[in-house]
């Protein structure tokens, strides 16, 4: 009891104790924001004081020992008044030149943070060495986020996204124009300016804006505002979005023309990897609208062709059975699949799809087919069957030379395979794997050179050379089979 009482008494009275500077000035402990060392000297920084402060005799280790109930060490050079710590922020260096940090230093810096100290604008750095003790003193499980953390906040934090003023946004009424404008003026990221952006989007350990993080935050905010009905969706395409952002930020040299690919990739990541929203949510136009159509009679049957140039054929064949069709024009666009799958859902509800696919006979054709199937599944469609309308065995020996297209070429030196440019090793590996799967020996040729070198070429077949009558018959038969099943 006595010890406890003494401790409480000391805690109450100690802040009233005085400290003497080297030149005889006095200050009370309760007025001290933190102690710091510089150039081997110890200084006191008082609350409300912005300069270096007054020099004192004891060093930080001694002070830490004497004042452990009131002050906590957070850095080799700083001892902070526990009661004055009012927040924790991610750290970034104020000084120029710190961007030349090594990878390890940058990684360590990501574990560090800064303390906001009541009564001073200075931020005190925390290093990982002292973080554990600091957390214990403050009763915090983490210095980087609240614990417990709401799942939505955690998800966004893991993506580096800040949902600026989300509570106000939630309550905002879209038809209250004044309130909407006031809200936008406060929170529109592209109008923050460089300094404010640095506060939110700085790179760990470097005093520079993390452009990708900035891009993701802009994309997220635009989506949120469209969804809330306080900004209009885009009337153009993805490029329109980029130009809007670049025009808003280009003046401050925050984003530059070269950042366009980074911006598109950030958008792709949030939509295709993280599945936070859809391209369609932004109102982007489907540039391939004319290349797909939902059938009037048998919409669940889809003729899938690789090439845009096969549009007429697709339209004619689909019309014969009343099915849907799509001409992909290369790798399928997620945006197009969003529009197409929504149209399909409106027509067939929960019914399953039957796909009839013709692509080039080569690794890209396989990839295009697989990506289309995966893409439709990702859009929530169910697929009952996928039939390939055209294979290499459908091409006669006579017709083969006219349709052959080079896939990869490589040289065999003993047991070593060396790609022949422009083929790359990765393409050769994929090409060989595909060739093994197809199992048609006609699609591989070898040429011997003096000295024993062999050059191998793997061939594909262009789908433009497919016999239309054969494809038509197979598609119609397949569609009829679907009806019978």
């Amino acid at each position: 009891m006595n010890d406890e009482l003494l401790e409480r008494v000391e805690q109450i009275t100690l802040p009233r104790h005085r400290f003497w500077s080297k030149d005889g000035k006095a200050c009370k402990l309760r007025d001290i924001a933190f102690f710091e060392t510089k150039g081997g000297k110890t200084f006191v920084r008082l609350a409300g004081q912005s300069d270096l402060g007054i020099e004192i005799v004891p060093n930080l280790n001694e002070l830490e020992r004497r004042l452990k109930s009131l002050f906590v060490r957070c850095h080799r050079d700083y001892l902070v008044a526990v009661l004055r710590i009012e927040g924790v922020a991610e750290r970034y260096p104020e000084k120029t030149g710190e961007s030349d940090k090594s990878h390890k230093q940058t990684r360590d810096a990501a574990d560090e943070c800064e303390l906001l100290i009541e009564g001073t604008v200075a931020r005190v750095p925390v290093t990982s060495t002292y973080a554990k003790k600091l957390k214990k003193t403050l009763g915090l499980a983490s210095l980087h986020h609240l614990v417990p953390e709401h799942p939505d906040d955690k998800k966004l934090r893991s993506l580096g996204i800040i949902d600026f003023s989300w509570r106000d946004l939630y309550k905002l009424k879209p038809n209250d124009t004044d309130a909407v404008e006031e809200f936008k003026a406060l929170w529109q990221i592209v109008k923050f300016g460089k300094e404010r952006m640095l506060r939110y989007f700085r790179q760990a350990g470097v005093n520079q804006i993390d452009k990708r993080r900035l891009a993701k935050n802009i994309i997220w905010q635009v989506w949120r505002w469209i969804k809330k009905g306080i900004r209009k969706p885009f009337t153009g395409n993805i490029r329109t979005f980029w130009y809007e952002v670049k025009n808003a930020l280009g003046g401050d040299e925050i984003l530059e023309p070269d950042d366009v690919d980074m911006f598109y990739d950030a958008l792709r990541e949030l939509i295709e990897e993280r599945r936070l929203f859809r391209y369609k949510d932004f109102g982007f136009m489907d540039m391939k609208k004319i290349f797909h159509e939902v059938g009037a009679k048998r919409p669940e049957i889809i003729l899938v062709l690789e090439k845009g140039g096969q549009l007429e054929m697709a339209r004619d064949f689909a019309a014969e059975v009343g099915s849907s069709f799509i001409c992909l024009g290369g790798e399928p666009s997620v945006l197009t699949m969003e529009y197409f799958s929504d149209d399909l859902k409106a027509a067939i509800g929960e019914r399953e799809l039957s796909l009839f696919v013709m692509t080039d006979i080569n690794p890209s054709g396989v990839s295009i087919k697989n990506n289309f199937v995966d893409g439709m599944l990702a859009q929530g469609m169910k697929i009952n069957r996928t039939e390939i309308l055209w294979e290499s065995k459908d091409v006669s020996d006579l017709a083969l030379p006219g349709g052959k297209v080079k896939v990869v070429r490589y040289e065999v030196r003993g047991s070593v395979i060396v790609p022949v440019k422009p083929s790359t090793m990765s393409q050769v590996t994929k090409g060989l794997k595909w060739f093994e799967a197809v199992g048609d020996p006609r699609l591989k040729t070898e040429q011997e050179y003096p000295g024993g070198a062999r050059v191998v070429t793997i061939w594909g077949i262009d789908s433009d050379t497919a016999k239309e009558s054969l494809i038509r018959q197979r598609f119609i038969n397949g569609a009829n089979q679907v009806s019978r099943d």
């Binding site: 710590i85 927040g87 509570r167």
Partner: protein
């Protein structure tokens, strides 16, 4: 030392705790998105309650300047954290109040409370279940 010294010391300790509560700050969501964790001074808090007006259930802390702060801890978890704090008391299923910030009360169906710095009262802040303890602690 007399035999009842311990009782006196306990009383002194209690008084000291009342003057200088052992818990002074609580981690809440920062109003500034650049700050990861904000440590709110509890001596500025008037009351703590649960809210569900922004699409999720949260615990709200209202300070004497009318500002609102949020934590993801449930009210019962906050109550547990402030168990040793002499100024906070649970006064209804939905409220924890800072007894030192009460500037008025009115008897209605339950008890409405006025707090320092806040214009509007908190309606039904004290319910029957908690009334006896509230009256005991308030005096």
């Amino acid at each position: 030392m007399k035999r009842d010294d311990n009782a006196v010391l306990e009383k002194i300790l209690e008084r000291l705790t009342n003057i200088d509560p052992p818990i002074k700050r609580l981690a809440v969501e920062s109003p500034d998105p650049a700050v990861a964790v904000y440590l709110l001074m509890l001596d500025k808090v008037c009351y703590i309650t649960t809210k569900n007006d922004a699409g999720r259930t949260e615990t709200l802390l209202v300070t004497t300047d009318g500002k609102k702060y949020y934590t993801n801890l449930g009210l019962s978890e906050v109550e547990k954290k402030l168990k040793e704090h002499p100024h906070f008391l649970k006064t209804s299923k939905f409220y924890l109040v800072n007894l030192t910030k009460i500037r008025g009360l009115r008897v209605s169906n339950a008890r409405d409370l006025w707090f320092e710095g806040l214009e509007k009262p908190v309606i039904n802040a004290v319910t029957d279940t908690y009334l006896a303890e509230f009256e005991k602690r308030l005096t």
